[in-house]
């Protein structure tokens, strides 16, 4: 991959902006709530600005790795600070920027331990940005862990519904995943003979088949835990339900993509033979996830559980796209990571708003909520339609591409997954009907609808979904610049 150095450190600024935000917040007093929120918003906004800039200014004709910054970090161990943007991570950086920005806006009304909340959230997002932009395995893993650990604290303090259980379960699951990732990464490092963590240099090495097979399966399961790959998904619905709104947004929207992005960026990139060997297992697990998520979701009565299981199913689609190992599949998969991220953020943000007012997420208790809060309900319904794969939204294109590839590669398995999407539509419509179009619950009639300010973050998310739904080429042209050379290397 060609590297194009940059003359201005866009990416470093993107990742440091939240860090500086944290540093300022730490010097503010808990009482200065407005200032704390403003600082978080500004630092998230700066990151968002940079991520939009890299997305737009990425030279699609040139391709390769752009905005590259590379400094030697620890010479003796071959560690370098090496960040860059290509077609695979540009959409994900943009996604992170959008979700954190809207996440801060969504939590504007938070009153409990505001200072720490925003500090931890910015810390988490630093890790996420870092993972997406790192081209060095050491920093990749460093940022990966940074993104995972604050979740424990965030769920434990600001969460709800069995939060202690959920926080511990989530942390231990994800750390167990890291326990598989470390040996996998280090095996690549050690057997390459180059003693470098640099992904591009390692790409030039031909690893022996058994190293490729072993590493691939270690990293597949290690990252698979975070990507909620069936059967390692059980932490995810529980965790999402327990987490506070913006954390669910970030977690389901962005963090889970770290897992699938990790699979794409490291094991698939470096171990093509391992991928060939394990791809049918990978595909099978993905299909299981899709079908399982849909059917378990059908039985749920809590809105957040419904979304949690739909996430399992949608992440299965991402994994299925990767498992096909084709241009269409990977295009769709990366696009689906982006689309699902925005969509889930919208889902959780809508549910969070409703829950804050009604203190319930039971579908039957909400009843005809559409008559009480038409705008809030509209947000949720939009997300549900998007989740069902209605044309006009970004996820339609993503799912279409993935299923075209899947049916071609996996045949009957792809068809089964596709069929379950129909059930998924049923699933979405059932939830929408029962919670928004039944008889309204008189308990909630006094509630006010979303104010324009609080509606703003949700509007941004919807606008993004529709923009990329109508002009998918904005995204696909970019992704293609990376996927085509990627596949030819497989």
């Amino acid at each position: 991959m060609a590297e194009h150095l940059t003359n201005f450190p866009y990416l470093t600024c993107m990742v440091l902006s939240p860090v500086i935000g944290i540093a300022i917040i730490l010097f503010l007093k808990e009482e200065q709530k407005f200032l704390i929120r403003a600082v978080s918003l500004v630092s998230a906004g700066i990151s968002l600005g940079f991520s939009i800039y890299t997305f737009v200014a990425y030279d699609r004709a040139l391709g390769g790795l752009q905005f590259v910054e590379k400094y030697e970090w620890v010479k003796g161990f071959g560690i370098s600070y090496f960040v860059g943007v290509d077609g695979l991570n540009a959409p994900l950086l943009l996604l992170t920027g959008i979700v954190i920005f809207t996440g801060v806006l969504t939590m504007w009304e938070l009153e409990l331990r505001v200072k720490e909340y925003f500090a931890f959230m910015l810390f988490l997002v630093t890790g996420v940005f870092g993972v997406f932009m790192s081209m060095d395995m050491f920093f990749f893993f460093l940022f990966y862990e940074i993104a995972v650990v604050p979740m424990y604290v965030l769920i434990l303090i600001w969460g709800s519904t069995r939060k202690e259980y959920a926080a511990m379960k989530l942390t231990l699951y994800l750390m167990a995943g890291s326990g598989l990732i470390i040996p996998g990464l280090l095996l690549l490092y050690a057997t390459s003979g180059l003693y470098t963590f640099d992904l591009l240099k390692l790409h030039g090495v031909h690893f022996s088949p058994w190293v490729q097979k072993l590493t691939f399966v270690l990293l597949l399961f290690g990252f698979g835990v975070l990507a909620a790959m069936w059967p390692f998904h059980t932490w995810s619905p529980v965790g999402h339900v327990a987490a506070p709104t913006a954390v669910s947004m970030l977690h389901a929207g962005v963090l889970m993509k770290l897992g699938s992005y990790g699979i794409l960026r490291i094991p698939m990139y470096l171990c093509p033979e391992g991928f060939q060997y394990w791809s049918s297992l990978f595909g099978l697990l993905a299909i299981c996830g899709i079908v399982y998520g849909v059917f378990v979701g059908l039985a749920q009565t809590d809105l957040k559980y419904v979304i949690g299981y739909s996430s399992v199913s949608h992440m299965g689609i991402v994994a299925l796209g990767l498992a096909t190992g084709t241009v269409d599949g990977l295009n769709g998969s990366v696009f689906q990571m982006f689309a699902h991220g925005i969509m889930t953020a919208l889902f959780f943000s809508a549910v969070g708003y409703i829950y804050d007012r009604t203190h319930t997420r039971e579908i039957h208790e909400l009843g005809g909520f559409c008559k009480i809060m038409p705008v809030a309900s509209a947000f949720f319904i939009t997300a549900a339609l998007c989740g069902a794969g209605v044309p006009g939204f970004a996820s339609f294109w993503a799912e279409l591409l993935v299923f075209i590839a899947a049916v071609r590669v996996f045949g009957i398995g792809g068809l089964i997954a596709l069929a379950s999407i129909v059930v998924g539509a049923l699933f979405a419509l059932r939830v929408v009907q029962n919670s928004f179009y039944n008889e309204p619950n008189p308990k909630f009639t006094h509630l006010e609808d979303v104010s324009p300010f609080l509606g703003l973050p949700r509007m941004i998310l919807i606008a993004t979904l529709i923009l990329f739904g109508i002009f998918p080429s904005l995204m696909l042209d970019l992704i293609k610049t990376a996927v085509v050379p990627f596949i030819s290397g497989l």
Binding site: W73, K75, E145, Y152, E164, S178, G179, L180, P183, L187
Partner: protein, 474 residues
């Protein structure tokens, strides 16, 4: 004059011991005066250690080697003593009239350890080790208590004596087989010797004395009792400075086995795996904070051994880095412990309940220290552990790294329990904790070091790499 310059840190600490000895002769007890003197002199120790960092030479008929390797460790030891001195401002665990003696023996112990890291001759090594051990034999039962201190003291004495016996036995084998007590002479004969059981047995038994200090399986079982029975400040010293010295000499000694790898390394692999797994599993069920840290130190001895057994430059470098990291992060936990237990009692994990409300700063320090011990980034512990894993993998120890990584996950569970208590449990009627300004600034500095050196490890790593060249002869 050159000799004095070479021996300067040891001389300084000897002088310090002498001054403290005169203090202990005073008729009236003046604990605060003793404390200030000890603090000031140990601060001077850091300065002396830093000044003599780049000294190089040998002393006492070449039995005593001064090089960057030894000086780095001496600086770390001086730093450790100074940190421990900082938390001695309240020393409720020890009777007032014994404070001067307490400081005196801490100092002599440090002298012993400083000599240990420079010693390159078997008898010098043994004598230095015993000087350090005897000081600790006296220090442990000094705590005011209900007899648990005596039990701990006796246990430490007996196990220490037994491990010394093993060590002497092993050293006699080495001496008998090579006709020399100098490491320089022994080294070229090791490849031939290690092929025979005598050499292997001699080397492994000789390491027993260092395994004891490091609380490595199978000589680990003193740790929980001594940690619980000793005064908090003393245990902070045992858990930090004493471990660092053990690591240093272990590195120097294990290098003897570097010429002939397999069975020697296999034994260490076994010890490392058992030590970290056992330590982490038993730590889960502990209720007493110090006992938990004791088992965590057994687990960490396993991690450290993982780097030692690579017998490679990168492995040694990462062990030095990790030893320094371990000193910092473990000390952070002990500092919080001794501040919270202001009357010198043993602290149950449950007594950290609501520490966040009682002292947010200490709660943050505790969390940073524990996360660093667990290997969570961005911290010095994470980077250290990853460097160790990297170098072990470079030597092809795949399973060892896998087990180590899984152990990291297990350990997170019990560290998180303490964090949970500190942040999420109701404080009830537990009192507020107000750290003094000195402790507050130390806490800021420690947190900064934990994060700063975790993200920017290059300078320490470079220094360690240069230092390693002096011990790894091959």
């Amino acid at each position: 004059m050159k000799a004095v310059a070479l021996f300067l840190p040891e001389l300084y600490f000897l002088l310090m011991a002498l001054v403290l000895f005169f203090c202990s002769l005073r008729r009236q007890t003046e604990p605060s005066k003793d404390f200030r003197l000890f603090l000031a002199m140990s601060a001077g120790g850091i300065l002396v250690g830093a000044l003599s960092l780049f000294q190089q030479g040998s002393l006492f008929f070449a039995s005593y080697q001064v090089d960057l390797f030894s000086q780095v460790f001496k600086l770390a030891l001086a730093g450790g003593v100074f940190l421990v001195a900082l938390i001695c401002h309240r020393l409720p665990g020890v009777e007032d009239r014994f404070h001067a003696e307490f400081y005196l023996f801490l100092t002599t112990c440090t002298v012993g350890m400083m000599m240990l890291v420079s010693a390159v001759e078997l008898l010098t090594i043994y004598i230095s080790l015993e000087l350090a051990s005897y000081s600790l034999y006296i220090l442990i039962p000094m705590r005011q208590g209900d007899g648990i201190d005596v039990e701990a003291g006796v246990k430490y004495l007996f196990i220490g004596a037994v491990s010394s016996c093993f060590m002497l036995f092993g050293l006699s084998y080495l001496f008998g087989a090579t006709h020399s007590t100098y490491l320089v002479d022994i080294l070229p004969k090791m490849p031939a010797l290690l092929a025979s059981p005598v050499g292997l047995l001699g080397l492994i038994l000789s390491l027993a004395g260092f395994f004891f200090k490091l609380s490595l399986f199978p000589i680990h079982f003193w740790a929980p009792d001594v940690y619980q029975g000793g005064a908090n400040q003393l245990v902070a010293y045992i858990a930090t400075a004493s471990k660092v010295a053990a690591v240093a000499i272990l590195l120097r000694f294990a290098a003897l086995g570097s010429s002939y790898g397999y069975s020697f390394a296999q034994i260490l692999v076994f010890l490392s795996i058992v030590s970290m797994t056992l330590g982490n599993l038993v730590a889960i069920i502990q209720k007493d904070f110090k006992r938990m840290l004791a088992y965590s130190s057994i687990a960490h001895a396993g991690y450290i051994l993982m780097g030692v057994l690579t017998l490679s430059e990168s492995g040694y470098t990462s062990v030095i880095y990790y030893a320094v990291a371990y000193l910092i992060m473990n000390f952070t936990c002990f500092m919080v412990l001794s501040e919270v237990a202001d009357d010198g009692r043993d602290l149950q994990i449950a007594e950290f309940a609501g520490l966040y409300h009682r002292s947010p700063l200490l709660a943050l320090a505790l969390m940073m220290g524990l996360f660093s011990l667990a290997g969570v980034p961005p911290s010095i512990g994470f980077t250290g552990k990853l460097l160790i894993f990297t170098s072990a993998m470079n030597q092809g120890y795949f399973w060892l790294v896998l087990i180590g990584a899984v152990n990291g996950t297990i350990s997170l569970y019990y560290y998180l329990r303490v964090v949970y208590a500190a942040y999420f449990m109701d404080p009830g009627d537990l009192p507020k904790v107000v750290p003094s300004p000195a402790i507050r600034w130390t806490t800021y500095a420690l947190i900064l070091i934990i994060i700063g050196f975790g993200v920017f490890p290059m300078h320490v790593v470079d220094l360690a790499r240069t230092a390693v060249k002096f011990v790894l002869y091959t």
